[in-house]
């Protein structure tokens, strides 16, 4: 008996709730803008400058005691959070200490780090410092821009490729869908004030790649069906294409989600935020493939008059392989 994620033949009308689903997407995007404007993002030191110190001890972490120990050093805004992780040993107690960028200094000086370490050793003699990272405000502001640039360049590259391989309407639909995914993911990081650093940008770019992958597969089928069924209304054609590829959409989403869930649980706390962003992005990416990209193409309309001029085997430019 095989596991089937979707029945062999489905006939779901993905447009029946189009106002609700598309509306929900628009609302989610608007909420993200609102949230980023009001709550902002919890930037890590990559984007804000400052220092993070990871502490590890066999003694339990008492955030209050740590704060007490550091309060006399006059370092400005210091945040201390205890880190929990299922793969930690029983006597492994980890905390992250974040110190704001110091006035007039590019990177936190070794003397300041030395003082912090001495102060913490006084309250916990067995404490160790597995990592100390410090980023100056000059680099961090550049990193924000290069991150934004990366997302923009990624979107443009995809827009261009899809435009060449398909039609411009598909390109617009694809890019709208994947920007939706990236924006909503950023929104989740803003609403829950999760730490947003350079690795999250890598995750966003991966979401970009995954989302476009998913969308392109349906568009590829749509391109094929456009030739096969010349008179079928576009809306029905899209439903047909989405239904035909539904099994694959769910299969791929499932295997990716399985791999990511394993990584989320066992991959350690250092990359948890990164994995979470991708996990969420795959969910949204799958949703947007089914409910956002096609709606935009339908809304823009397709010029189907010159389809007869093609050779009847679209999408087969690369199909003459054998192995």
């Amino acid at each position: 008996m095989r596991l089937r994620l979707a029945p062999e033949k489905t006939n779901i009308d993905f447009f029946s709730l189009q106002y609700i689903t598309f509306g929900a997407s628009i609302v989610a995007v608007l909420l993200t803008f609102l949230s980023v404007a009001t709550l902002g993002l919890n930037f890590g030191i990559d984007f804000r400058g400052g220092t993070t110190i990871r502490t590890e001890s066999t003694q339990a972490v008492d955030v209050g005691v740590y704060r007490e120990a550091l309060s006399s050093l006059g370092l400005g805004d210091v945040s201390i959070t205890e880190v929990f992780d299922p793969v930690f040993r029983a006597d492994q107690h980890v905390a992250m200490i974040r110190i704001q960028a110091q006035e007039g200094l590019e990177a936190v000086t070794p003397e300041i780090i030395e003082r912090v370490e001495t102060a913490l050793r006084a309250v916990d003699p067995v404490i160790t410092f597995p990592s100390v990272e410090s980023v100056g405000p000059k680099v961090s502001s550049e990193l924000i821009w290069s991150a934004a640039l990366a997302v923009a360049a990624g979107s443009l590259g995809i827009l261009f490729y899809v435009w060449i391989r398909f039609e411009w309407q598909f390109a617009v639909g694809t890019v709208a869908a994947l920007l939706h995914d990236v924006i909503v993911t950023v929104g989740v990081f803003s609403v829950f004030q999760l730490k947003f650093d350079l690795t999250i940008v890598a995750a966003l770019l991966t979401i970009l790649g995954y989302s476009v992958n998913d969308t392109v597969v349906i568009f590829d089928r749509l391109r094929e069906n456009l030739v096969k069924y010349k008179t079928m209304p576009l809306r029905d054609l899209m439903n047909l294409s989405a239904n035909e590829t539904l099994s694959r959409t769910l299969m791929t989403a499932s295997t990716t989600l399985i791999a990511l869930t394993v990584l989320l649980i066992f991959g350690g706390d250092v990359i948890r935020g990164f994995v979470f962003a991708m996990l969420f992005g795959v969910f949204v990416g799958t949703y947007s493939t089914l409910y956002v990209a096609k709606n935009i193409v339908l809304f823009l309309g397709l010029d189907r008059s010159d389809k007869s001029k093609t050779d009847g085997k679209p999408g087969n430019e690369f199909a003459n392989i054998d192995a």
Binding site: R2, V108, V139, V212, N213, D220, T255, V270, I321, A323
Partner: protein, 554 residues
């Protein structure tokens, strides 16, 4: 329906090669020791110690031995991003230009009158002339001193800009000369940093130029960024200057052409020394840690011939006078010249510890930095945290692989098994390529591999779903399989090309961990396309030819 024999052999050969090159990574530590030993033996000219022989025997030398580099976040070490203060050099250049300008203008004293250097910002030379009427001539004289700049874009430009402010001539470096100087300064700094890091001999440091004036330094295995900073952040500009006086007044007036510098080991003592050095550290050919006659740590040094001559002449002419050994604007010591020192070698004593004298010797050997460095980014990752990350990544990778494989079998049965086989080859190929190109594996890179496993089956899923459709349409097994592969191909190509596009963009724009992730993701996409399209197809075709099933269930 079977593909030609040569093609089958080629595909299997690629897979076998991939496996062979991936295997060393399973035995990371012994292979690493083997590689280190063979490198050390090659350096020693083929002579091996017994320990090296033993390390060499840990891995057969006929096997491939390239390994994936572990990034700093996995191995532990220090990361620094330094900015070279390129403007420092402008000041030296302009100050060095002043005697030339003075001499040239003095030759025209009749027209321009007396000349005097006015106080100005660093990097600017302001010269006041006594007879303003002769300004045109003065400007002409100064401009004649300019040298053409040789750069790709700066054709026809000279190295200085001359302007007039009332009765003052203002000389600055031109934009073209500044660009050329910047580039040289950063290149020199890079070389000197590399020499200093190599002197302490750690494994595979990364020292790269970034942008116009930045240098990225990553040194695995070093204890902390502070330690690395002490090594490369010191300018180590050594000079030997005549001493004019000694004082405890920090605000004392040093007088023209003199400077007041603090003593490094006598608190509150200052020396008035002549600004112009007799000899500088640039003329050193060697420096070694040593002990003075009282058994205190010191540094022995030797000058090159021209330095030795200058030093010998100066000491011969100034017996009984003190002179100062100045390091980075601090007087290390100010001994009195007992006799002429003609041989060009000497000893620097101060209040050193053994570590300090060793470090100073390293710095002096490697040379002084042309400009100061400021640090924009520093990261230290402890080796234990790196090991924890490797362990977590490995655990997640294995569990993820098992989970994805089980899911594939649950969905596609025997065809799932065949896809899993291709997936295993995919991972092997990925590691093989990463090892051969010497890519660096970072923690996000491991995440990229795990993600690749999830996404790699996508191509297989596309193919299998197509085969199912063809079977439902009533076609025979082998025809369905053939059509399945054929029709799925355009979707596979389009989706993977866009994914590779994003990987390339991440690599170009990103830095550090993002790059590591982009590399594994990009290579993973390419290998997964190869395995899904060629390897899976070959496996299925071989199985079909062997079993000749009347019907198949995908």
């Amino acid at each position: 329906m079977q593909s030609p024999l040569w093609k089958r052999i080629l595909i299997w050969a690629v897979c076998a090669l991939g496996l062979a090159y991936a295997i060393p990574n399973l035995f990371y530590t012994p292979v690493e020791q083997h590689n280190d030993a063979s490198k050390a033996i090659a350096v020693a000219g083929g002579v091996a110690t017994p320990e090296q022989e033993a390390a060499l025997a840990l891995w057969p030398s006929w096997m491939p031995s390239s390994l994936v580099n572990l990034g700093l976040d996995l191995r532990g070490g220090a990361h620094l991003l330094a900015e070279v203060q390129v403007a420092d050099v402008y000041k030296d250049r302009i100050d060095g230009f002043w005697p030339q300008v003075r001499d040239a203008l003095r030759a025209e004293r009749d027209t321009v009158g007396n000349v005097r250097r006015e106080p100005s910002d660093p990097g600017v030379l302001k010269v006041k002339i006594g007879t303003p009427a002769g300004m045109a001539k003065a400007v002409e004289v100064v401009k004649a001193l300019a040298q053409p700049v040789v750069t790709l874009t700066g054709v026809g430009q000279t190295d200085i800009e001359v302007a007039v402010e009332g009765d003052t001539i203002v000389v600055q470096l031109s934009a073209a000369e500044r660009a050329a100087t910047d580039s040289r300064t950063v290149q020199q700094s890079l070389e000197i940093i590399r020499r200093r890091v190599d002197e302490v001999g750690t494994r595979e440091p990364t020292i790269q130029r970034q942008g116009t004036d930045r240098i990225l330094i990553q040194v695995p295995g070093i204890g902390s960024a502070a330690e690395l900073k002490a090594l490369i952040g010191t300018t180590a500009r050594l000079t030997f200057n005549p001493v004019r006086g000694r004082t405890t007044d920090a605000t004392a007036d040093a007088g023209a052409r003199n400077v007041l510098l603090p003593s490094s080991n006598e608190e509150g003592t200052f020396y008035i020394i002549e600004q112009t050095a007799v000899v500088t550290g640039e003329e050193l050919v060697d420096a070694q840690p040593a002990f003075d006659q009282n058994g205190r740590p010191a540094v022995n040094f030797r000058f090159n011939p021209s330095g030795a001559r200058a030093f010998g002449e100066y000491t011969a002419a100034n017996i009984g006078q003190p002179f100062a050994i100045v390091l980075d604007d601090e007087v290390i010591s100010a001994p009195t010249i007992q006799s002429a020192i003609p041989g060009g070698s000497g000893i620097i004593t101060g209040n050193f510890t053994v570590e300090e004298s060793t470090e100073l010797a390293v710095l002096l050997r490697a040379g002084a930095l042309p400009a100061e460095l400021t640090f924009l980014e520093e990261r230290t990752i402890g080796p234990e945290l790196g090991q924890d990350s490797i362990d977590a990544g490995r655990l997640a990778g294995i569990i993820g692989m098992i989970a994805v494989a089980a899911f594939m079998i649950a969905c596609y049965g025997w065809f799932g098994v065949m896809a899993n086989f291709a997936l295993a080859i995919n991972i092997a190929l990925l590691f093989a390529i990463l090892s051969v190109i010497g890519a660096t594996l970072t923690l996000p890179g491991i995440a990229g591999i795990v993600l690749t496993m999830g996404m790699a089956v996508d191509a297989n899923v596309l193919i299998y779903e197509r085969i199912r459709e063809e079977l439902r349409a009533g076609r025979g097994p082998s025809r369905s399989i053939e059509l399945g592969f054929e029709k799925a191909f355009s979707a596979i190509t389009d989706s993977n090309v866009t994914a590779i596009l994003t990987a390339i963009i991440m690599f170009v724009i990103g830095s550090g961990p993002v790059r590591g992730f982009a590399v594994t993701l990009g290579i993973g996409i390419i290998t997964s396309m190869f395995t899904a399209v060629y390897v899976t197809r070959l496996i299925i075709m071989t199985w079909m030819a062997y079993r000749r099933p009347k019907s198949i269930v995908v």
